[in-house]
Structure formats: C-alpha cells, structure tokens
C-alpha cells in the first residue's frame, strides 16, 4: 500500500497557564509590549462588561444574554488582527472582537435587550451582525470573501463558529468552497468544549477540530485559545496569507466556556464543578497579567485603576442603553423592504391605529 496523503496538525502556544513562555521564537505581537498591554486592557474591559451584562439580566434589565467569559483572548486577538476593511461575521458572543472594531457596548445591550437598532451598530457598516442560526455565518463570510475575490480587493473575511457549530453542514460548506475557490476566508473554531450541554467529545470522532479544514484543502492550526500571544500570532498569519491570495485557513482556538451557555442556561445540570474549577486555572487573563507583570509592564495598581476605569466606562454604556426609548410601532414594518409595499402599508396603518387606541 502506498500513502495517498498525510497530514498533521500543529499546536501553537507561547504562554502556559502560569504566564511563562514555552518557546522563545516570539512573534511580532509579543515584541511590542505596549501593544500587549493595550490588548490585555481590552480583555479586562470585556470581562468587566460581561459581568455587568449578566447582572443586568439577573435584575430584569436585559433579556437573555450569551456571556463571553473565558473567551477574551481569542476574541481580542481576532478583533485586533483584522483591518477595518476586512469583514467580520461573528456568532453571538465575540464581543471583544467587536468592541475593538468599534461596536459600542450600548449597541450590544440593545440587541440582547430586544431592540433591532443594536445591530445597526457603530462598527464597520460591512460587518455582519450577531448570528444565532448556528454556523450559517460561515457561509456569509465565504460569500463576502468571494465578493472580494471577484472585485480583486485585498480584503479578508473572518468568521467564528463554535465546537458544536463545526458539526454543521454550513461550516463544512464554507471551508469547502473556500478551498475550492481559494477564498480569503479565516474560520476560527472557538472550541469552548460545550455546545450548551453537549460536550466536545460528542460532536465528532475527529481528534482535533482544526483538522476538519484539511479535507477542504485549507491550512489548519490548533491554538491555545487562552493564550493571547498565540491566538494573535495565528490570526496575523492567517489574515496575511489570505490577504495575499494564498487562501483560507481554519484555526481551532481551544478554550473553555466558564459561564453558562446563556443566562437562560444552568451549566451545573450537565458539567462537573471540578472541570470548571480546573478550567479557571487555564483562563486567559490570569496568565497574561502574570506575563506582563514579569516584564514589569503592568502593576497591581494599574490593574485596579484600569478595572475602576472600565466599570465607569461600562456604566456610561449601560445608562445609554437603559435610557434608549423603544422604537415606535411602525418600526416593525419600516425595514422589512426597502420601501413599504402597498399591501403591507395597510397593516402598518392598522398597527399604528391599534397602538393609539391602547
């Protein structure tokens, strides 16, 4: 028998769980300590925001909310590696990436707070909004990448899907077409080990999720998703090669969902406490803080000051959200089509009249 094909999946990590370097060939991002500090500050900001958002939901001031706790390194790496012209097609908890791209926390709160205007956000107008139907965003990103290719624009589409989402046909369709057409598409599988209550082990028999890209002809890499340096190095590499016409890439970011799936979920029903406790030892902020402090680039005082600053900034956003009045009833109709069709205008008028009577 001869070998038809062979493959292997590399695993990339720079910082271990304690913030110690495990290799010395530092990537560009790690040589710029000031930027590392900025990215760490983003991670902290996201965590402060996330905790506040959960609190808002618990006190009845926000609808169901999907926390991003534990995903901060992956998300901040994605957002900071992209250019504004690139297109981001998120799933629904990549807030770190989106905040860096200009989406305001108040807009995110509006979305989870039951108001479509949240998706008319301040981030790049070409970025896709939150995508609840699992993995469908992968194909929208592939379509964006195809548009760039057709128009010969040096832009890249980046999308995020979960470990559960990587079981869906849309994920496979997207990586398949990216390989077949050599599209500038970066697919990040944020493997947080749990698709609501179903563990990673129940999703697939594949040893890694990254290797799914092999079948599509894409370059693949598994990364410590809690290691900001590794994640950013992987993203920089993937985006650069995509931008230069070398095709798509699949990055599996191995991380852990430290929160419930959403505020409507109770993860204690299906996963053991000791697993969560162990995951907290590997979480992304702790190691980054230790690493920066070891470089004398960050102090405990700076940490406390920045946290207080974050809380104040988040409060401004929360207040802006809470003060946003509901849309008028006709908003139900006004964006269904570019112009309200005559047939729908009749219902619009009836809804306005019914609203006045109430």
């Amino acid at each position: 028998m001869s070998i038809a094909a062979t493959f292997e999946i590399e695993y990339l990590q720079y910082l271990d769980a304690d913030g110690k370097l495990v290799r010395d060939d530092l990537p560009a991002i790690a040589r710029d300590v000031r930027q590392l500090v900025e990215l760490y500050k983003w991670m902290l900001y996201v965590r402060v925001f996330d905790s506040k958002a959960v609190a808002l939901q618990r006190t009845g001031k926000l609808g169901t909310y999907a926390s991003c706790l534990g995903h901060e390194a992956a998300h901040v790496a994605i957002g900071s590696a992209m250019q504004e012209d690139d297109v981001f097609a998120p799933m629904y908890r990549e807030y770190g990436a989106q905040f860096i791209r200009g989406v305001k926390p108040r807009e995110l709160l509006l979305y989870w707070g039951g108001d479509e205007r949240g998706s008319d956000f301040s981030g790049p107008a070409h970025d896709f909004a939150w995508c609840v139907p699992i993995a469908t965003q992968c194909l929208h990103a592939a379509g964006a990448a195809l548009a760039f290719k057709v128009r010969k624009e040096p832009r890249v589409a980046v999308t995020v899907v979960g470990d559960g989402g990587s079981s869906k046909g849309d994920f496979y369709g997207a990586i398949n077409v990216a390989g077949a057409m050599q599209l500038p598409l970066v697919v990040v599988i944020v493997n947080n080990q749990w698709a609501i209550s179903v563990p990673r082990s129940a999703q697939t028999g594949a040893k890694t999720l990254a290797q799914k890209g092999i079948a599509a002809g894409l370059e693949c890499l598994q990364v410590d998703g809690n290691d900001l340096i590794a994640m950013r190095a992987a993203m920089d590499h993937a985006i650069k090669r995509a931008r230069h016409g070398h095709g798509g890439m699949v990055i599996e970011a191995v991380t852990y969902r430290l929160s419930d799936h959403t505020t409507a979920d109770d993860a204690r029903r299906y996963r053991p406490d000791n697993e969560v406790k162990a995951a907290w030892q590997r979480e992304p902020l702790k190691r980054m803080k230790a690493y920066l402090m070891s470089l004398n680039a960050w102090t405990g005082k700076e940490e406390e000051d920045w946290k207080a600053d974050c809380a104040a900034r988040v409060d401004v956003e929360v207040n802006a959200y809470l003060e946003t009045k509901s849309q008028p009833v006709e908003a139900i109709f006004d964006f269904t089509y570019a112009q309200v069709p005559a047939d729908l205008a009749v219902q619009r008028a009836a809804a306005i009249a019914a609203d006045r009577h109430n």
Partner: protein, 326 residues
C-alpha cells in the same frame, strides 16, 4: 425583433443586466460551461468569465449562504437552484438571513439577491423535479415571490427582480420554458413587480392564476367564450407582496372568482386570495369562490402527473359551478 422562448428570455435578461451592471453575478450548479441543465445561463460564462458565472460546489446551502454574503457586500447575485425540489437546503439562508437582513440591521445591510429555480410539474421529470412550492415562500416576510408566465414577462420581471433592492424568489415555470416564442425586445425595460397582469378582459367570471397554469386558464377562457361565457384572466405574477386591488376590481365587475394553481390546495396561495375575497369582496360575490388546484398529495411520478395538474376541463367545470350557483 427576435422571437424567443421563456427560457431564452431568462438568458437574455441575465445577459443584459450582467452587461450593464458589473455587480451582477450568477452562481449555481452547472451554470457555467454547461449553461445550466435547462440552458438558462447558456453562453454567459463565455461572455462574462468564470468569476461572474460561477459553478459552485454541489451544495444548495452553500449557494444560498454565499448569495447572502455576496449581496450583503455589494454584489447582486443571481443564484440558481437547479430545481425547486432542491431548494429546501436553501430555506434557512432565505428565511433567516436573506429576507431578514434589512430589518434586523434596521437597514444597515440588505440582500439584493435573486434566487431562481425552475418550478412546477408537467415535464415527465424524475422524482423531486416537479414541485410547486411557492406557498412555502409567500409566508416569509421580506421576500418577493415572482412567477413569470410568458417570455415577455420573464424578461421584464427578471430584470426587475435583479434591480430590486430586496431578495426575490423567481420561480420559472419549466413546463412552458419552450412552449412558444414571442417577440421580446432586448431593451432593458423592466416590468413592474407587485402588480397583477390582466391578460384577458371579461365580465362573467374572474380567473386568477400564475405560472404555467396561465396556459390552461387562457385555454379555459377560450373554451368558455365558445359557450358565451366571458372570463377575465389575471396573472398574479408577484404573489407577495400581493396586488389584491386588481383582483378585487375584477371581482367587483364579475361577481365570480375561480383561483387556479398547481400547488397543493390547503394553505396554497389560493387560500390567501380566497380569504381576502371573503374579507373584502363578500358583497361583490354572487357565487362561492372556487379553487382548482393540485391535490393535498405529493405530485405523482410522471405517469399520473397530468391527472394531478389542473386541466382546462377542471377549470371550465369550476366556472360552470360558479355560474350555476347564481
């Protein structure tokens, strides 16, 4: 002016719009060198290149998802589902994204895409190649559902569909793809969407239909004329958003309405028209509304399919019942 068939009119419209708007691209299975299995995209890849006439991998969800992404990023994609029976994997992208993108982003993004599919029975095709499933789309807000019934309307409505800022499902009645030719000027003139076309004036009964059934309905009107019965024939053309006013005006005049469609009867789009007549035109009617439709079964394989599809005889009989009722 050349005489062309309905499918040639589709090709002509695609070519015209691709020539005049560089953002228009065509994608689907076998649409490139093969020109589509019905030849709707014949010659387009040669004329416009393989980057604008794209043979996709064989996955309808991929085609639909790419289409949403392309449209959201400034292209005007015209996607082909090879048959309407294969459109189901596209449904999630059509319903959850294409039709919803504008409203869920308050107009920040939109999806100016056309999803074309050969539609309907009567060509002795294999299983899953003969469905009439337009009613599955007419209940999706944010979409337009359009069915042309002549070469001229195929040309003008497809141009309008491509130019429309919102997504359009464009079902092409494959049974009449090559049924007859008519003169269609390649002048880039679109026909209006959201309006019914009155194909024949009459005073005794209103026949409302769309797609391939326009053929049988017009033949029924001829047969009725020989019996001294004057039938008005309306081609709905854009099912949603519906131009009910045109139907209502006709029924005010005739007092009778027979709705003809080949899709299954229950919750077919005819039910919507009948409900509107009950709401708005009950006092104009002198006889119960009749529906001549496919049955509430799957369309049979081809040995029996013509017994399933509405026939001239069934339409004429329904009209006679409305006349006998008043």
């Amino acid at each position: 002016m050349p005489q062309i068939t309905l499918i040639e009119a589709v090709t002509q419209a695609l070519a015209y719009e691709m020539k005049h708007d560089p953002s228009v691209i065509v994608l689907g299975e076998d649409v490139g060198i093969n020109g589509g299995v019905f030849r709707a995209t014949q010659g387009l890849q040669k004329a416009f290149g393989s980057e604008r006439v794209i043979d996709t991998p064989l996955d309808e969800a991929t085609i639909a998802g790419l289409t949403v992404g392309l449209a959201a990023q400034g292209m005007k994609p015209v996607a082909e589902a090879q048959f309407e029976g294969f459109i189901y994997p596209m449904m999630e992208h059509i319903a959850c994204h294409a039709a919803r993108l504008r409203t869920r982003t308050r107009g920040r993004m939109s999806c100016p895409a056309v999803f074309r599919a050969p539609w309907g029975g009567g060509i002795r095709a294999p299983e899953h190649h003969s469905e009439a499933n337009e009613h599955l789309f007419t209940n999706i807000p944010g979409l337009r559902v359009v069915l042309p019934s002549s070469p001229g309307r195929a040309y003008g409505l497809l141009l309008a569909a491509i130019r429309d800022p919102d997504p359009v499902i464009f079902f092409e009645p494959k049974r009449i793809y090559r049924q007859y030719k008519e003169e269609v000027a390649d002048d880039g003139e679109a026909l209006p969407l959201d309006v019914c076309f009155v194909l024949r004036d009459g005073g005794d009964v209103t026949l409302v239909t769309w797609g391939a059934q326009v053929k049988e309905t017009l033949e029924a009107a001829d047969a009725l004329a020989e019996q001294g019965i004057s039938a008005e024939v309306i081609d709905v053309a854009t099912l949603t958003p519906l131009d009910f006013d045109t139907i209502h005006e006709s029924v005010k005049k005739t007092g009778r309405c027979v709705i003809v469609h080949e899709a299954p009867r229950t919750a077919g789009f005819g039910a919507e028209i009948a409900a509107r007549l009950a709401e708005k035109a009950i006092y104009d009617l002198v006889a119960p509304v009749e529906r001549v439709t496919g049955y509430d079964t799957h369309i049979p394989l081809y040995r029996l399919e013509m017994k399933y599809l509405p026939s001239v005889e069934r339409i004429v009989a329904a009209v006679q019942r409305t006349l006998a009722a008043s």
